[in-house]
């Protein structure tokens, strides 16, 4: 599959085929499913969402029906012509290989490895180049599909983690997952989220995501899929300039499901006005440190 366009990010409306189809009909170029694990998983108690200073906090906790039950949804999606990317997770390289093998039989265009949810046990994977290597290798060994590694911005050295993923065979990097954060209710004097802490998404994390994409683009040869806080075509252009070949959109879908086509149109106009023939001319055009 070509890594380009504007995709639905994992975890937003991605649990049923019907909502993913709706998002595709609204103009998304691809959809990433909710992260699916080996077994059904309840996730954290509510509240699973909170808001603080213009950002969204979530601690859903990887609620999902498990890979076997998810087959039914994938069957419906297989009919569709646009790329469906399956996001998967597991808490050992051995288990992720099992999930990946099962996922591959469901006909996705690519597999995205969630190595980075900041409010679940798996949060630590993409903090370590070594552990990241193990997961990516385990999956690459069992599937023939493109494999994307989704990283956390919370790691001291996300560039080394990205390099490790690339060396282990990842076909693209997805950056970023949510940023560790929390909200405390001052009247109740307790954390709002059921899980107490969670991950920040939406506009406030945009400059953090841009930096991450920029750093990774400058260090790696594989494409970068940018995600984090994008809600306008201006954001998308900035993310492309930082080095993103494709862009995923999550939180902004809550405001407007038409966000994909609006962004696409805006970017097209920008390219035309600036005399660019294709998006490739601006990907990474902000230059870099190397």
């Amino acid at each position: 599959m070509k890594i380009q366009g504007y995709w639905l990010a994992s975890g937003i409306l991605g649990v049923t085929a019907s909502t993913m189809l709706r998002v595709l009909n609204s103009g998304a170029d691809a959809v990433v499913t909710k992260s699916i694990g080996l077994h059904p998983r309840t996730g954290h108690n509510g509240p699973v969402l909170a808001t603080s200073h213009g950002g969204l906090l979530n601690a859903v906790g990887l609620t999902n029906p498990g890979i076997d039950a998810f087959e039914e949804e994938m069957q419906i999606l297989r009919e569709v012509k646009v790329p469906i990317i399956m996001s998967i997770f597991a808490d050992s390289p051995k288990e992720i290989a099992i999930v990946a093998e099962k996922a591959a039989t469901l006909g996705p265009s690519a597999i995205e490895l969630n190595l980075s949810c900041p409010h679940a046990e798996i949060s630590q994977i993409s903090h370590s180049p070594t552990v990241t290597t193990e997961y990516v290798q385990a999956v690459k060994e069992v599937v023939d599909l493109p494999v994307f590694a989704k990283l956390t911005p919370n790691a001291t050295d996300y560039v080394s983690v990205g390099k490790a993923a690339q060396k282990a065979g990842a076909d693209a990097i997805v950056a970023i997952n949510t940023v560790r954060a929390m909200k405390i209710d001052i009247l109740q004097q307790r954390p709002v989220l059921g899980n107490k802490t969670g991950g920040l998404s939406g506009p406030p994390i945009f400059p953090i995501a841009v930096r991450c994409v920029y750093d990774l683009h400058n260090a790696l040869a594989i494409p970068i899929i940018g995600v984090g806080g994008v809600s306008t075509w201006k954001d998308a252009v900035e993310m492309h300039l930082a080095g993103a070949s494709a862009i995923q959109i999550g939180t902004a879908v809550m405001e407007d499901i038409e966000v994909f086509s609006k962004i696409k149109n805006g970017v097209q106009t920008y390219l035309k006005e600036r005399g660019h023939k294709s998006i490739d001319e601006i990907v990474g055009a902000a230059g870099g440190t190397n």
Binding site: V15, T19, G46, P47, V48, L49, P65, L187, G202, T251
Partner: protein, 273 residues
């Protein structure tokens, strides 16, 4: 993006009053600081500290005071009806599309705690000068909610019919049977309902047969309430009960494969209704 607004301007408040409705249902009242707009049929997400956050219809609306009517069916609802005056809860909303109040002669059918969102609807319809026939249905007399309130109301335009499965009060039998009878004898222009989904599916079929407008408020498992998590999706349209519902028209329901058939549980697995 106006994140607070999209998230329903979350707010914490203390419960100011508790009314016992039946052995396992209570109405909780509290005051909002945010000035919010409300239409009958809309709901809020209620944060029960240390427990969970669950959707609840707004059953009472006298700004700034509002209320919810909770029936205990599990951990969160049990915790909620066990709370005391002065205890803190969190509220965000209101969310969802409301009932249309464009009716001259309305039939309103509530099954069990399904009467909760219909209570403000009935008042709104009466305010607008409509004739309203309310079917308040429950398993047994003791389970009826707002029975006394509507009984005492004696509004010239309101007619209240009671239906109990065991016949302990009013019509004996299912709400659908009571409604079938009422439809025979009256000329309603609209039917509104909330309650067990199989009941609502039955009512929908009745409404379809005699071709009157129909609106039902659906329940689905909800984690976010504001259109981001996807838990409450309907097949095959991908409509979200939280954002595109909870009130759906007959035309909309005709397209929903899972209405009256199945819902998805907490992890997203299909469960029969």
């Amino acid at each position: 993006m106006k994140m607070d607004e999209l998230m329903g301007n979350p707010e914490s408040m203390q419960i100011s009053k508790i009314i016992t409705e039946n052995p396992h249902s209570k109405t909780l009242l509290f005051s909002l600081k945010n000035q919010i707009k409300f239409q009958p049929g809309q709901f809020v997400m209620v944060w029960i500290p240390e427990v969970d956050e669950i959707p609840m219809s707004i059953s009472s609306w006298n700004p700034p005071e509002m209320g919810i009517t909770v029936q205990s069916i599990g951990e969160a609802t049990q915790a909620l009806i066990s709370m005391f005056k002065g205890d803190w809860i969190g509220i965000r909303g209101p969310f969802g599309n409301p009932f249309s109040t464009n009716s001259k002669n309305a039939l309103v059918v509530g099954g069990g705690v399904g009467i909760a969102p219909l209570r403000p609807l009935v008042y709104r319809l009466l305010d607008r000068g409509a004739e309203v026939t309310l079917v308040n249905a429950a398993k047994t007399k003791k389970e009826l909610i707002y029975f006394k309130e509507f009984d005492n109301l004696a509004h010239p335009n309101l007619r209240v019919e009671i239906a109990t499965d065991d016949g302990s009060l009013g019509f004996k039998g299912f709400a659908t049977e009571a409604v079938a009878q009422l439809l025979d004898e009256n000329d309603f222009d609209r039917m509104y309902t909330c309650g067990p989904e199989l009941m609502m599916a039955g009512l929908y079929n009745l409404a379809k047969t005699i071709k009157i407008r129909f609106q039902a408020s659906l329940e689905r498992f909800m984690k976010c309430g504001c259109g981001i998590c996807g838990t409450c999706a309907m097949d095959p349209t991908g409509q979200l009960v939280c954002a595109d519902g909870p009130v759906f028209t007959g035309e909309q329901l005709a397209k929903l494969a899972n209405f009256g058939k199945y819902h998805r549980d907490v992890v997203g697995m299909k469960k029969e209704c």
